[in-house]
Amino acid sequence: MMKQITILFITLCTLHGIIIAQNKQTVYTHATLHIGNNQVITNGILAIKNGKIKAASSTYTPLATDSVIDATNQHIYPGIIAPYITLGLTEVDAVRSTIDFAEAGSINPHVRAQIAYNTDSKIIPTVRSNGVLIVQSTPRGGLISGQSSVMSLNGWNWEDATIKADDGVHINWPSLLVASGWSELGPTGWEKNKNYETQLQTLTQFLYEAKAYNKTATTTINNQKLKAMKEVFDGNKRVYVYANSAKEITEAITLLLKLEVKYPVIIGGAEAYKVPELFTKNNIPIIIGRTHALPYKEDADIYANTKLANELKNKNILFAISDEGDMEAMQARNLPFQAGTTVAFGLTTEEALQAVTLNTAKIMGIDANYGSLEIGKNATFFISTGDALDAKSNNVTTAYTNGLVVDLNNHQKELYGKYATKFGLKKQ
């Protein structure tokens, strides 16, 4: 019965379209509210109006004018945020013409993901229908890949999808090790990256020059690359540095501190738990990689990557979980389950949720309006009939971004419907 109501509701919303009027306050009652800040409110009430959250508590009394929706047995979550992802910049991994995340050259701080972000990507509707509503669309490759932007998965074009333009510059710290050759038994191993020092030198020199360049108010020669770093040094943009080993992380943070970068963020950070003081002392957050990942080293704890979240939590380091890796754009819809998996490894469900909502928003600097179901924030949330962090119960029936309805239909559901009908099966 409940399901039928839900379907009806989806249909209504779809009919109304994205521009549904919201002068009227919408109130969801009897829901389990997962606030995103480690709090959960059972039998809670969520009120939204004019795209903002007006109430999220167990005590709010709806007004007579409110449109009240009974959400008994439903769970309401803040929209899940997928940081550090190529979604929107890629369509088909194997088709070069659909790939827009890797620019030529190794120092590209001036290239911006925002304007390449494809709101009509066929992948996006499959991702948002699992509750992931915001991404940090990010370029890749080289020493400096470019600038990411925080984007909504519910937009007509890149302008109205933009949540935070050019939120940060992405640096790939050089690797100390590079893969070596093959033997008849398979890959033989790794070798020292002979170019490490050179790469490091190139990167360091660029960063120092950028800092110097942007100190001058007037300059005779325009340099796009150097100019692109201005707001990083002004403290208006993040610097995201991808580094995994303890040594690489240590070197990266040392340099960033020397450069007096205001908002450094480490991405990857597989061995961050070995050097926690670097993070706690300097108040540096981390965006970790997949929890569904095998450890790099044969001897390692076989669940090292899954346990990393808990290790960081225990050391009071601010962290978020990303989906970085193979087929990441498509896999973004599994980010809730990547978070859920950490629950078997020490986190609570609410902490796991926080690692893909409020923590992520804080790290990217959008927590004033996103990341949790707190009063005053934008109404970016979704409703699931079951626990959204567990694959078997994640069932998103309603979603909003900035108070706008999200179309939860997608190409895959359509094909499912089409063939279920062909074979006379009842689509649920």
Partner: protein, 994 residues
């Protein structure tokens, strides 16, 4: 220095060269005749006639490079040069049974941008240039003094050399290391046929994988048999001719690790042959398996270099398996000996040949006996190479190849003084050093006295004038003396002279401190007494760890055994008509499910497991896996490679076996990749962690093969270079199948002929057509799936399983009608064009249409959470939880024809069960215990213990390494091992040695 040394050698040669000439000389002489009939006698020596026949105070008599007599009390002919070898030891010089590219230039690897499908070797040779049995090392060998001398210095006198290039490398040549014309030194041409799994510098596409190398070698050997028996030959093949011609000479196989020894031996057995297998030093890790082969080895004396673990972070790069191997490798030869495995030794594999004796002494310190070591350098290689009548001992008539030492060769202080090759002397140190050590008094001033001590060939001097010590130097070169000393404030007295033959007097002339010439004579008043304590030359034997199974992190100390388990009060997902039952007990006994029920009485001796609140399921079965494979999962060089088999290359030492047990996986089908239309045969294994490769395979399982459709087999995403191999379109794919199965039918008819050519590819294709082998086909688009079902129908067989089958939902009715199984991903898509219509509802739709459906991994990471993936069948398409779990247990068991024994919790089935902390479909679930055949292979509490054991063991060895580094042992930088993580698109084009 080198030049001086060369000069000495030359001098030595000119003295003895006469004896090396044989009586016949086919070469003209420039000048007068240089031949003579002279004997050489080496007297009063301790002589090892062979490793176990030792005579003391004996004489070795040689003439013209051959042993004339050996023993005691022999009468010497008058025309004998006598060389006194008092206190000296004589051994036959050693044989290096495996000495690649000595005097034979190595082939250089030439890179190429183009794909090469045909052999670049011109002429009537085998189709694949890595098969070159016609190569004859004897025709290509020429003496290279630097290489020969390097080995001679170590005491070697004979080598078996060949060109180490290719899978069939051709025949080797045995030669002495005499510095002479090749026609004088060759002992045996075509001594052995050399084989390996490494295609060497060949740029021909096939093979690209280890399993391809195995298949190619087998096919070549079968081709040779056919060629031999073919009476009315319609083709000439010089390679096969050569292989047949040399069929009965020893075949030596260059294996690159312990598992390859077993693989090589399997081929030997197939052809009723016994290979001699070159090993690499890790045999001790699976010694029972090696022993069971009952084959002879050529072992290495290589030892892994110590690791630099000074930096805590860098130390983490080196794995426990490498640390343990570094520590235990030194036990390898003793382990071989203890297990009565016959082996020869070789210098091959040493980074520097001069490490040979140091390493061998270490092996001896760790238990190898000296006699076995000597046999491995003398009689064993002589027998292996079938040259015992010429070398390996000093019996009469043998080539006069021997070394003279100043003591036991295994003693660190012992020096090889001379190495005689074919009676020709190579002198590395004077045979007799005049003993000038002792106390001397000077004739012109009896207050001047000096003591010479230290070594006989460079004694140290202490010179005194009455009670004062004077600074002095002393040198002896042959019998010439230099003696200088400083008179304080006056100057240096410089003396030169000669010693008497017994060293009792030294005399000569010189200049005093004023430059006035003087004569001098010093007389020994006291003989030398060795009061200096000789430093112990024995290798310090350290305490060692032990072998684990497998020899890596998380390995078992001893192989675990099946026990009786009483699992109490669990929620059991039976996968049977009983459905999910609560508060139920299960008994596992003798590897089977013995009983299921409520409140069962605990059998005697059973371990009880309180499973209250926990869930018990059948073990997960992964229909599509690429873990535990050595040397590549794709033989991608041809469109049809049915001849290759993953079963040949199962790798028992893959950490992913253990990792997947932690996700409740108990069995996996290890599939060939999807690079070609008809790929290779699969292996179905149980994850019996610790067992050897052979034991992992499920005995009696039905046979399967991988086929593939679409972009991969068309090479669509391989880059612009790959546009030549047929097929490049889906149209061509159909024709490739039809052609292959038609060839199989024709082959079946050919097989009735008396001498048919055994074609390994067609043998397997025929099994498919005859329903003795079943297809798992990589597939995406509905069109191509439909096509293959039609092709199969037209040949009268069915496609067993479509794997991936991402558009299966579009033709679910057709799949059902055909009777195909579907093994799909839960939700993958968007990685290439042909998966644009892939939907996560695929599994549910197929299942609802009555197609037996499973979720597989194709990924080492996803494999260990297939339970979560099954949960997605609930999310996408609302499959019931009970049925969803079957997607990763019973359903794959059915499609692999294993459901009679696996896939559900039923009395009598294999005890492959998993205990979970919560609903197994949840992301919150973790396997607590995984049983395979009733053996507890993974246990979450034991896992924690293992991690602390790993940390302990690593630290123990690291401490040892640090101590060694601090004491000056050379170390190398640590680098992490790269993990073998294959998916079905992994292509290793150039895995060969660069």
């Amino acid at each position: 220095m080198n030049r001086i040394y060369k000069l000495i050698v030359t001098l030595a040669l000119s003295l003895t060269a006469v004896s090396t000439y044989a009586q016949e000389n086919t070469f003209p002489t420039n000048g007068v005749n240089t031949q003579a009939d002279i004997y050489y006698a080496f007297t009063h020596a301790k002589i090892y006639i062979d490793p176990t026949t030792i005579v003391t105070d004996a004489t070795l008599l040689i003439r013209n490079g051959v042993v004339e007599q050996v023993g005691t009390n022999m009468a010497l002919p008058t025309n004998t040069v006598i060389i006194n070898c008092t206190d000296k030891w004589i051994y036959p010089s050693f044989i290096d049974a495996f000495a690649p590219n000595i005097g034979i230039a190595e082939n250089k690897f030439k890179g190429s941008d183009d794909t090469q499908y045909e052999s670049n070797k011109k002429g009537a040779y085998y189709w694949n240039e890595t098969i070159q049995p016609e190569y004859n090392a004897a025709e290509n060998y020429s003496y290279v003094d630097a290489q020969a001398d390097e080995l001679r210095k170590l005491g070697f006198g004979t080598i078996n050399t060949f060109n180490a290039n290719g899978i069939v490398r051709g025949t080797s040549v045995v030669t002495t290391l005499a510095q002479n014309k090749e026609y004088k030194t060759l002992v045996k041409e075509n001594a052995t046929m050399q084989l390996s799994f490494n295609k060497g510098v060949s740029r021909q596409e096939y093979p690209t994988s280890l399993m391809g190398s195995i298949a190619l070698l087998r096919q070549a050997l079968y081709d040779a048999q056919w060629y031999k028996n073919e009476t009315n030959k319609k083709e000439t093949n010089l390679s096969l001719q050569a292989l047949n011609y040399h069929w009965n000479i020893p075949f030596v196989f260059d294996a690159s690790d312990k598992q390859n020894i077993v693989r090589a031996n399997t081929i030997a057995k197939e052809f009723n042959k016994q290979f001699i297998i070159k090993a690499t030093g890790d045999e001790y890790q699976r010694i029972q398996d090696i022993k069971a082969l009952n084959t002879q080895l050529i072992a290495t004396v290589h030892l892994p270099t110590a690791y630099d673990v000074e930096d805590a972070a860098d130390a983490e790069n080196v794995s426990l398996s490498e640390l343990k191997h570094w520590e235990l490798a030194v036990t390898n030869l003793a382990t071989l000996e203890k297990n009565e495995i016959v082996f020869a030794l070789s210098t091959q594999g040493l980074k520097e040949k001069k490490e040979f004796w140091n390493n061998l002494r270490k092996y001896i310190a760790y238990g190898l006996t000296e006699t076995t070591a000597l046999k491995a350098l003398l009689t064993v290689p002589a027998e292996q190479l079938q040259i015992s009548n010429k070398v390996g001992s000093l019996n009469i008539g043998r080539i006069a190849n021997f070394i003279i030492t100043n003591g036991n060769i295994f003693n660190a202080k012992t020096v090889i003084l001379n190495n005689y090759t074919q009676g020709e002397a190579h002198s590395y140190k004077a045979l007799q050093t005049i003993e000038t050590r002792g106390k001397y008094v000077m004739d012109y001033d009896s207050k001047i006295q000096f003591i010479l001590s230290g070594t006989a060939d460079s004694p140290k001097i202490k010179l005194t004038n009455d009670t004062s010590n004077y600074k002095a130097i002393y040198k002896i070169e042959r019998s010439l003396i230099t003696l200088n000393y400083d008179v304080p404030t006056a100057g240096t007295i410089r003396l030169t002279g000669v010693t008497s033959p017994d060293g009792a007097t030294l005399n000569g002339y010189g200049y005093n401190e004023n430059g006035k010439q003087i004569t001098w004579k010093a007389t020994r008043t006291q003989a030398y007494q060795d009061t200096v304590k000789v430093k112990s030359d024995t290798v310090k034997v350290l305490e060692l760890g032990h072998v684990t199974y497998p020899m890596m992190a998380y390995g078992f100390d001893t192989l675990p055994k099946t026990k009786t388990y009483h699992i109490k009060n669990a929620t059991i997902w039976t996968n049977e008509s009983e459905g999910i039952v609560t508060n139920t007990d299960v008994i596992l006994q003798n590897g089977k499910i013995k009983a299921i029920g409520k409140n069962i009485v605990t059998p005697q001796g059973a371990d009880t497991i309180n499973a209250t609140g926990m869930h018990l399921t059948a073990g997960i079965i992964d229909e599509h896996s690429h873990i535990a494979v050595s040397g590549g999962v794709n033989e991608g060089a041809q469109a049809v490679t049915a001849e290759v088999s993953i079963a040949d290359v199962v790798n028992a030492d893959d950490i992913n076996i253990y990792r997947q047990l932690s996700g409740g996986v108990v069995a996996s089908q290890l599939l060939h990749g999807s690079a070609n239309v008809i790929g290779g045969q699969s292996a179905i294994i149980k994850l019996r962690w610790g067992a050897s490769a052979e034991q992992l395979k499920i005995a009696g399982a039905d046979k399967f093969i991988k086929c593939a459709l679409g972009e991969n087999v068309k090479q669509s995403n391989w880059g612009d270079k790959f546009t030549k191999r047929f097929p490049q379109t889906r149209m061509g794919v159909e024709q490739t199948f039809i052609d292959a199965f038609t060839r199989a039918k024709e082959y079946e008819r050919k097989k009735t002929q008396s001498n048919y050519r055994k074609d390994l590819e067609c043998e397997v294709l025929l099994e498919i057509v005859n329903k003795q082998r079943f297809i798992t086909c990589h597939s995406y688009l509905q069109s191509e799936v439909n096509m293959l079902m039609h092709v199969a129908d037209s040949f009268g067989f069915k496609i067993n399983t479509f794997t991936h089958i991402l558009e299966g939902y579009k033709i679910a009715d057709k799949l059902k009608a055909h009777g195909a199984n579907a093994s799909t991903f839960s939700d993958w898509w968007a990685y290439k064009m042909e998966v644009q219509d892939a939907i996560p509802y695929n599994g549910a739709l197929l299942h609802k249409m009555g197609v037996n459906t499973s979720f597989n991994s194709d990924d080492a990471e996803m494999a260990r959470r297939l339970n979560q993936e099954a949960g997605k069948a609930v999310k996408y398409g609302n499959v019931s939880e009970e049925e969803a779990l079957k997607f990763v247990t019973l359903n794959p068991a059915k499609m692999l024809h294993l459901d009679a024994k696996m896939g559900s919790i039923k009395i009598g089935k294999d005890a492959d069960v998993v205990l979970w902390n919560t609903n197994p479909l949840s992301v919150y679930a973790r396997a607590q215990k995984t049983f395979v055949d009733g053996i507890l292979c993974y246990d979450i509490t034991k896992d924690a213990q293992l991690r602390s054991d790993i940390a302990y063991e690593r630290n123990r060895i690291i401490q040892k390494l640090i101590t060694l580094k601090n004491s000056g042992t050379p170390v190398i930088k640590t680098m992490p091992k790269k993990q073998l993580l294959y998916d079905c698109e992994s292509i290793e084009q150039d895995y060969i040695a660069k």
